[in-house]
């Protein structure tokens, strides 16, 4: 059976949807916004990705998992990493943000493009939705998160910080 280029393209994006961020396993690499381009030529697939944080140890693993998922589907993948334009949380999908919220991680508030990452933001608690929350630390359990505390339900929570 002959696959047209468009169907192949769609299939590859579908495969990428199944590759999860190892640190935030509810978020696919597509929803995270790290896939910058997909080029298909026959069985050869070139996937261009961009790192979230330069030192994030999950990036090597993400590249490896993308490679394995595509190989399992019979493709010959090449992963290329680019740095510019720099990844921003503005590229995270709405679906991704909702999944983060449901998982208990507050999604980014505001747009990185407005330099929202440098301001003191009101971040609603992902558990009880209260806005009565305080920043505990700009740096959290992974490079992409900040640590918050909810004054209402008294639970600490991670915030996927605007970047």
């Amino acid at each position: 059976m002959v696959n047209s280029a468009t169907t192949q393209h769609a299939e590859i994006w579908q495969i990428l949807e199944t590759v999860m961020d190892p640190e935030v396993p509810v978020l696919s690499v597509v929803d995270l916004g790290v896939i910058r381009a997909v080029a298909v030529e026959g069985k050869q697939v070139k996937v261009t990705i961009t790192p979230t944080y330069t030192g994030c140890p999950a990036m090597d693993m993400i590249a490896m998992q993308i490679k394995m998922a595509l190989m399992a589907a019979g493709y010959e993948p090449i992963i290329k990493t680019i740095l510019s334009p720099a990844w921003t949380t503005d590229w995270m999908t709405e679906k991704g943000k909702q999944q983060l919220q449901a998982y208990g991680i507050a999604p980014p508030v505001g747009k990185s493009i407005d330099a929202a990452y440098l301001e003191d933001l009101v971040v609603p608690c992902p558990q009880c939705q209260s806005t009565h929350t305080v920043l505990v630390s700009q740096f959290g359990s992974t490079a992409c998160k900040a640590l918050f505390k909810c004054e209402e339900c008294k639970e600490p929570f991670d915030y996927f910080k605007c970047h």
Partner: protein, 263 residues
């Protein structure tokens, strides 16, 4: 060719800065004053090591493209080609490192660590903003990526300078002591290295902007800039304090003892 050699040296200078400050910050792992701040300083260390990797990778690429006579080492022991980010980090010696002295001096107390990061990251923010216009698109891309992380470092360290400077008598004393101890190492930030020949660079402008920002924060925190002090310099050309040797001994031990080992 001279341009390439200069660009490689400049990349190594930036990479060494990032690696050594990253290493210093990582020494706080498990020793931070409270858990959250321990996590913060180690995250910052991770950002710097990530930046160092990007810079070393690009330097390695340029070095491998120009294998005809780029003298990498001054000690005569040649690093075998092709070089990698790892051989550049782990197999060069003290005199080959081009990091600024301010990155290698010991952490001291929490005041000194956060102050050093404030002075350095404020400088890097200005420098990397200029590098956005670098003619090599990959250098510009690394700068673009790094600026986002450095902005967080500036904010975090600035908060500590304010908090300690404008805090208790004890915290103020410590922050002022830190300034007095580190200030002599800040002059080197604005001495343009010979190999920093990119057209986009303007060290005088960096110094003006840095002075303004640093003075504003010190004023707000009630801290005093020491009267004229001696400027310690030499790091960018490979003349280091006694401290760098100890850092490299610890960092490079494994690769030196067991070449090419992986884990």
């Amino acid at each position: 060719m001279a341009t390439t050699k200069n660009e490689i040296d400049f990349l190594l200078h930036l990479a060494d800065n990032a690696l050594i400050i990253g290493h210093r910050n990582s020494e706080w792992c498990g020793h931070g004053p409270i858990l959250e701040q321990d996590i913060a300083i180690t995250n910052i260390a991770l950002d710097y090591i990530g930046q160092a990797r990007n810079l070393y990778q690009h330097a390695a690429e340029l070095i491998n493209q120009h294998t005809d006579k780029i003298e990498l080492t001054q000690t005569g022991k040649d690093i075998s080609l092709p070089v990698t980010e790892d051989s550049l980090a782990y197999l060069r010696d003290v005199v080959e490192f081009k990091n600024l002295l301010i990155t290698e001096i010991p952490n001291g107390d929490w005041a000194q660590t956060s102050l050093r990061l404030f002075l350095l990251s404020q400088f890097q923010l200005e420098l990397f903003t200029q590098l956005l216009k670098h003619e090599d698109p990959q250098v510009a891309a690394i700068a673009e990526k790094s600026i986002k992380e450095i902005s967080y470092h500036v904010k975090w360290s600035q908060d500590w300078v304010l908090r300690l400077g404008d805090g208790t008598e004890e915290s103020k004393r410590r922050m002022q002591n830190a300034i007095d101890a580190i200030w002599a190492f800040t002059g080197e930030l604005f001495i343009q290295p010979e190999y920093a020949t990119a057209a986009c660079l303007n060290y005088a402008a960096i110094q003006t902007a840095w002075n303004q920002k640093v003075s504003a924060i010190f004023e707000e925190a009630g801290l005093v800039i020491p009267a004229k002090t001696f400027v310690q310099k030499g790091g960018a050309t490979g003349m280091h304090t006694e401290h760098l040797g100890y850092i490299l001994a610890e960092m490079q031990y494994l690769q030196r003892a067991y070449p090419n080992s992986e884990w």
